[in-house]
Structures are given as C-alpha cells and as structure tokens.
C-alpha cells in the first residue's frame, strides 16, 4: 500500500484541473531513462511474523562475539536508563523543532547537548549534530573553505592517519567543489604525522589542516605543534577527535597557542550502540568567529516578553529552509534521537563517569597490548603514546588469523592491509572498559594458538610485502 493520501478520484480531479491525461503525462518531461519503474533491489513485502523470523536468523548468524574491534565505532557500556528515557514518546516521536512554542523539551535537550559538547571540546559553539563522524569532517572542510577568507586555494592538508573511510567520504563530498585534499604521510616509526612533513608546504596557501586526535592508529598526534603550524601559515586547524578521549586529553579548544578553529568527530561512543554501523551522529563545534559558517541547526536560549526562559532555533538565515541553494549545508541537519541518547548518557555519567570510562579503556588496551605482544612474533608497530587502540603486527596473514578468531566468537580487530598495505600483516585492536581481564587473557591464548596453527613463527614463512 503506497503511503499517499490521495484517492484515485482525487488524483483524476487534480489531473483534470492541470490538464494532464495521466500521472505519467504530468512527468513526461523527465527522460524515461531516469525514471524508476521497478525497484529491483527491494524484495517483496513480508508479514511481521516472517520479518521477526528473518531478523532472528540474521542475529543468530552474527552471534555475540567478544569485541576487540574499534576503528571508529566502539563497544562501550551504555546504562540501561539511557535508551529507556530516550525512547519515551515525548523524545521518540518529536520531529523538527521549528515551532518553538510546541518543542521546548526537544529544544532544551539540544541546548544542553550543545553546552556539554562545548564544555568537552573547549570550543565556543556546537551545532545540534550532523549525520555521522565522516560527514561531519566533510562539513568541517567545507566550512573551513568558506570561513578562511584569506585563503584562495581551496586546498586542505589531510594526514594519512585520518580514518580511511572518513577520507573517502570527504573526497566524495568535496571533490565536485574543486577542493583539493593534499595527503600528509605518517612517520613509519611513530605512526603519527611528524610536523616536519609540513615544512615543504610552509608559506603556501591552504584553507585548513586536519588534525586527528587520537589518529586512526590510536596514536596521539603532536596537536600543539600542528595547530600552531596551521595558524602560522594562514590555515585553519580542524580537530577530528574521539569525544570520550576528551575526558582525558587536552580539548581542541586548548591546542597550541590559540586552540583549533573547528572540531568534529563521531558521537557514537557517547551512548549509541554499535548496531551494525548506525545510526550514529556527527558533532561539530567551532570558535565564535566561525559561527556563521557553521552548517546545521544551532539552538539558542532567550527570554520571552514575560522574562521566562525559552529555547529556539537561532541563526536560521544560514539554513536550508531560508537560504535554499546557498545554505551552509544541504546534507542533513541533525540526528535528533542519537543526540537525545548522547545527552542523557553524558548527563548520567557526568564528567567523572566519562573520565572513568576513558581511563578504563586506556588501561584495558594497555593490558591487551602487553598480552598480545607476549606472543612470539606479535609486535606493537608504533611506540608512541596511544589512547585505546593499538596497531600490532602478526607473524601470520592477518586476514586468516582474524577469520579463525571470528570462528572462536572473537572479533580480533581490523585488518589494515586494505587501506595501509605498507604496514604488512597489521591489525588494529581495541579494548574498551567493557572488556574483562579474562576476555583479554582468552584473546591472548586464542591468538597464540591460531598463530601456531597457521605456522607463523615456527615455519619461518613470514609473508613479506
């Protein structure tokens, strides 16, 4: 049943009024090649019972593996109250809060969210969220190109230590706007972006430098030096951060002499379940000077005529419904429900709870690293300080090792060979606060066994790049 409210009779009446013989006639200026008649990829409808059966089968196939996989989405503990409150009808069914009179609850929640993000990042302003971390970085890049009026180049310095999927998304979103992404190599020993690699670019025209912290390898970048280099060379500094790490690390607003100008990232670690990769949400914060170039919604706090506090959308002139094709963003404006969960999550944990979760994740990852590198032939690739992820190299093919671990109901990490073939048989591992000492020990035992079975060190056939 199509969800179109018109009856056939009404459709005929409207067509008669327009003077078109049929709906097809009405749209005949659209070439036939562009018109979809059948959606071949969409299967036929199933009943609720059939869907339930299908989804149960699929869920069983997934199993409930122990997760040592991070790489942009993290298996953190989410208090039960978070989604219990988030799924209350008042939050769950609320739609775009354009009508402030009817949306004070949603607006206040978004305002609280923005306040928390500003506190966490050390920036001046936060928007009400974006689609996800990768598109938030793309929006930050577009925003920097608009905001940096001294720069004429539309060039962006993008370290290779930025999440590969993010780099692909950014490329796809900005390439048709003549924005050039210049890749910066990473230090093969440290796994970080050595500020020295920027020297050849000194004095050139760049709109912005992207600074991931921690970077895709989990490694901490020299954010102060990178931020100051950007500012000394007329570029804006865009921080790409894991929000949970900010409970322990210096926030982007305090990097270098004057802080980053824009910061963005993936909000999933703040209360969103892994959920097969989404929905998550992206966050975007900036300094006051850039606020008019910020895409998405911003909620402001004001007073009505009676002096009562009220919340409302502010700076709307930049938005799609007013600025049309010249809006600061035309992707999507907000992931309201995810932000609701994140706000409740942060409110429940408080700054101390976030700090404990971050510290426990850091500690568990250190334990994991020690356990794994005790196995002959397993090495930590990058020695520099890291947050809660590490790259380790294996004495056996990474892909088949991970496959074997998966058969043992264990997600061992991410095979880096596709995106970073130069690293050899390397995997990215992660242990959040949810991983127990027993689970970490069990991972070590299983990995040792798998490597032994696959002939790793004993047969001497270490795969070479």
């Amino acid at each position: 049943m199509p969800f179109i409210p018109h009856t056939e009779e009404e459709v005929q009446e409207m067509l008669a009024a327009i003077g078109a013989a049929s709906t097809d006639d009405l749209f005949d200026e659209i070439p036939a090649s562009l018109r979809l008649s059948q959606l071949d990829a969409i299967p036929t409808a199933l009943s609720e019972m059939e869907i339930t059966r299908l989804m149960s089968q699929r869920a069983q196939q997934d199993g409930q593996p122990v997760c040592f996989l991070g790489a942009g989405a993290y298996d953190h503990h989410i208090p039960a109250a978070v989604w219990q409150i988030t799924t209350r009808g008042e939050f769950y069914t609320a739609y775009t809060p354009y009508q402030a009179e009817a949306s004070q609850g949603t607006l206040q929640l978004l305002y609280e969210y923005q306040s928390m993000m500003v506190a966490l990042t050390g920036m001046d302003v936060s928007n009400a969220s974006l689609y996800d971390g990768a598109s938030a970085l793309a929006e930050a890049v577009l925003m920097a190109v608009r905001a940096n009026r001294k720069s004429k180049s539309k060039r962006i310095l993008m370290p290779r230590t930025v999440h590969p999927a993010y780099r692909r998304v950014v490329h796809n979103i900005v390439r048709n706007q003549q924005i050039e992404l210049v890749e910066l190599p990473f230090d093969p020993q440290g796994g970080h972006t050595d500020p020295a690699v920027l020297e050849p670019y000194a004095g050139e025209d760049f709109a912005a430098l992207v600074i991931p912290q921690p970077n895709f390898f989990g490694v901490l970048e020299e954010v102060d030096a990178l931020t100051d280099w950007a500012h000394a060379n007329g570029a804006l500094a865009i921080g790409l951060v894991n929000p949970l790490s900010l409970a322990l690390l210096t926030p982007p607003g305090e990097w270098g002499e004057t802080g980053a100008d824009i910061c963005c990232g993936e909000g999933q670690p703040l209360g969103a379940p892994l959920s097969s990769g989404g929905p998550y949400f992206g966050f975007l914060c900036c300094k006051q000077a850039q606020v008019r170039q910020m895409p998405g919604r911003i909620i402001g706090r004001t007073e009505d005529l009676d002096g009562k506090v009220g919340y409302t959308l502010t700076l709307q002139a930049r938005e799609q419904h007013i600025r049309r094709s010249k809006a600061t963003s035309n992707i999507c404006t907000n992931q309201g429900l995810m932000v609701t969960a994140a706000t409740i999550h942060m409110a429940l944990l408080g700054s101390e709870g976030l700090e404990r979760a971050a510290a426990a994740s850091y500690e568990n990852t250190r334990q994991l690293e020690q356990t794994l590198t005790a196995i002959p032939g397993v090495e930590t690739l990058f020695q520099r300080p890291a947050f809660h992820e590490r790259v380790v190299t294996l004495p056996a093919p990474a892909a088949s090792v991970l496959r074997s671990l998966a058969a043992h109901n264990l997600l061992g990490g991410l095979d880096l060979s596709r995106d970073y073939p130069e690293l050899g048989e390397a995997i990215l591992v992660c242990a959040t606060e949810k991983r127990t000492a027993d689970e970490i020990a069990a991972y070590g035992e299983k990995l040792a066994r798998v490597i032994q079975l696959q002939g790793g060190v004993t047969c001497g056939l270490v795969p070479k790049e």
């Binding site: 009026r149 008019r292 002139a317 930049r318 007013i322 600025r323 010249k326």
Partner: protein, 131 residues
C-alpha cells in the same frame, strides 16, 4: 514609499552608488531594501582589495528571518569596507544611505555608472514591485 535621494545612482537589485567623482564610489543597500529585510543582525562584507565585477555577488545582509545577497553595481577594487557594521549591523536599518554604507570601490570601468538607474527610474522599479 521610502526615501530615494536624487544624488545617488541605483541598481535594480536595490543597491545604491554614490559617485565621489575621484574615480571611487560608495555602495550600500537602499532604504527600501532594508525595510523589506527587517532588522539586520549580520552583514558579510567583501575582503579589502577584492576585485568585483558589476552584477556579481559580493556581500550578504542577514536579518532575523532571511539572508539576501548584495550584488556589486560596479566593477573595480574594494578600497574600504564599513568595519563598524560588524558590531552594529542595525546601522543599515537606521541610516541606509549614510552611515550604513557597505563598501567603497575604485572603479575599473567608470562608464558603468551611466548604465545605472537614476532616482526616478529606481522609484518606478520599487512601485512595479509593490504591485
């Protein structure tokens, strides 16, 4: 009808031009334009030294409910911008033809001034829009 000074030239897109007769002009938006927009909250001006082409977008005036592009009525180089508008955009509402000027241009094609509207012709444009 709003005030339309006789000593200025106008563009159809509601900008005014004051000829300084030294090869430079001041540019702003008309009283009528600011009335249509309502209370201005932000003005984005061109960069000092920017090269403008007649008819091209060069500034944005933003009110509480709308944002509107400003088109340069003339070609040339921006030699001054009204810095005071950064903190007091409402000056455009209060004194569109005076203190609310937007930028000053050194003309690269002075003949363009002859193509602009005089007060009478601009008044006709306003009246036509009102119907």
């Amino acid at each position: 009808m709003s005030n339309v000074p006789n000593d200025l030239k106008y563009a159809k897109s509601h900008e005014w031009v004051r000829d300084e007769e030294d090869g430079t002009v001041f540019v702003g938006i008309t009283e009528h334009a600011q009335e249509m927009l309502g209370d201005l909250v932000f003005v984005e001006l061109p960069e000092l030294g920017a090269t403008l082409e007649a008819g091209s977008e060069c500034a944005v005036v933003e009110s509480v409910k709308a944002a509107s592009d400003v088109y340069s009525p003339v070609s040339g180089e921006v030699i001054a911008i009204n810095e005071a508008l950064a903190d007091a955009p409402e000056t455009v509402n209060q004194d569109a033809f005076g203190d609310g000027w937007l930028f000053q241009v050194k003309l690269s094609a002075p003949a363009e001034l002859d193509e602009l509207l005089d007060a009478e012709a601009y008044t006709e444009v306003m009246e036509a829009e009102a119907h």
